[in-house]
């Protein structure tokens, strides 16, 4: 097996704020505007892709984030083996892409997932995100695609004062630096 090397490989605390890169879990991008797509995903993953904007649906294994009316991001809630990842990707690809129901694209390493926890995470984000977190904050499962320090991010509210942040791999070290710098001044 190959060694893998993620970008951040770090975890930091500032007061009750903790930041940590989550070890890569499976991430798959789905796109479709076909009618049967949802049902098919439902059958394959026991979870329906959300239709409502800025929301997600989750079960024990997976979360599906709404990205646009025809685009979703699936990620596995837990680390799963590389073989399992492959199986799932192939299964989805065969049932969706190969049946012309949409597209399935593995984006596991496209995104780096950083977990932010603590009472001041929204103070941190509001230093450089124009997004109004008022509703997002209150609703578990909310999803926001916005800018953080001029970088595209996807935010997923997984619990009170606890969210997962997705940033493109090539930007991740840069954003990590910014987050840590800003966390010093909360």
């Amino acid at each position: 097996m190959l060694n893998f090397e993620t970008t951040v490989q770090d975890s930091k605390s500032y007061g009750d704020l903790t930041l940590s890169e989550v070890e890569p879990i499976l991430k798959i991008n789905l796109r479709s505007n076909k009618r049967e797509f949802s049902t098919k995903i439902g059958k394959l993953l026991s979870i329906i892709p959300p239709i409502e904007a800025n929301t997600s649906s989750s079960n024990e294994d997976y979360s599906i984030l709404w990205l646009s009316p025809d685009e979703w991001l699936i990620y596995s809630n837990n680390k799963i083996s590389y073989e399992q990842q492959n199986l799932l990707e192939e299964n989805l690809f065969n049932n969706i892409s190969n049946t012309n129901q949409g597209s399935v694209t593995n984006v596991t390493d496209h995104w780096v997932m950083i977990n932010l926890k603590g009472s001041k995470i929204y103070d941190l984000l509001s230093k450089s995100s124009p997004y109004d977190f008022k509703n997002f904050k209150m609703k578990k499962g909310s999803v926001a695609q916005t800018l953080l320090n001029h970088t595209d991010v996807i935010l997923h509210n997984i619990d009170d004062n606890n969210l997962n942040l997705f940033v493109r791999r090539s930007f991740s070290e840069d954003l990590w630096l910014w987050i840590n710098d800003s966390a010093r001044f909360l």
């Binding site: 904007a53 990205l67 695609q145």
Partner: protein, 92 residues
């Protein structure tokens, strides 16, 4: 700094969007049959309206969808937004 109501994601800050210029300039279906003048009309000529303009925006840092906006270019007030392919909600 506008607030633009993305028809898919809701109200967001202008910095999440990029502008795509005048809307409803349909790409000719058979460009080869156009004269140079007609092609130039499609390519370059713009109304550049002072007043109510129908224009395209892209939620480039959000859902990446293109959509249409009705904006008064004389005061930047946005009157409506609507999806691609939809009819303008106000008279053109």
């Amino acid at each position: 700094m506008f607030i633009i109501n993305c028809p898919y994601c809701g109200e967001r800050d202008q910095t999440e969007f990029s502008s795509g210029g005048e809307a409803h300039i349909v790409r000719p279906k058979q460009p080869t049959e156009l004269s140079d003048d007609e092609w130039a009309e499609f390519l370059f000529m713009r109304k550049n309206i002072k007043g109510i303009q129908f224009e395209r925006w892209n939620h480039s840092h959000g859902c990446r969808k293109w959509f249409n906006v009705v904006r008064d270019t004389s005061n930047d007030k946005i009157h409506a937004v609507y999806k691609m392919g939809e009819k303008p909600p106000v008279n053109k």
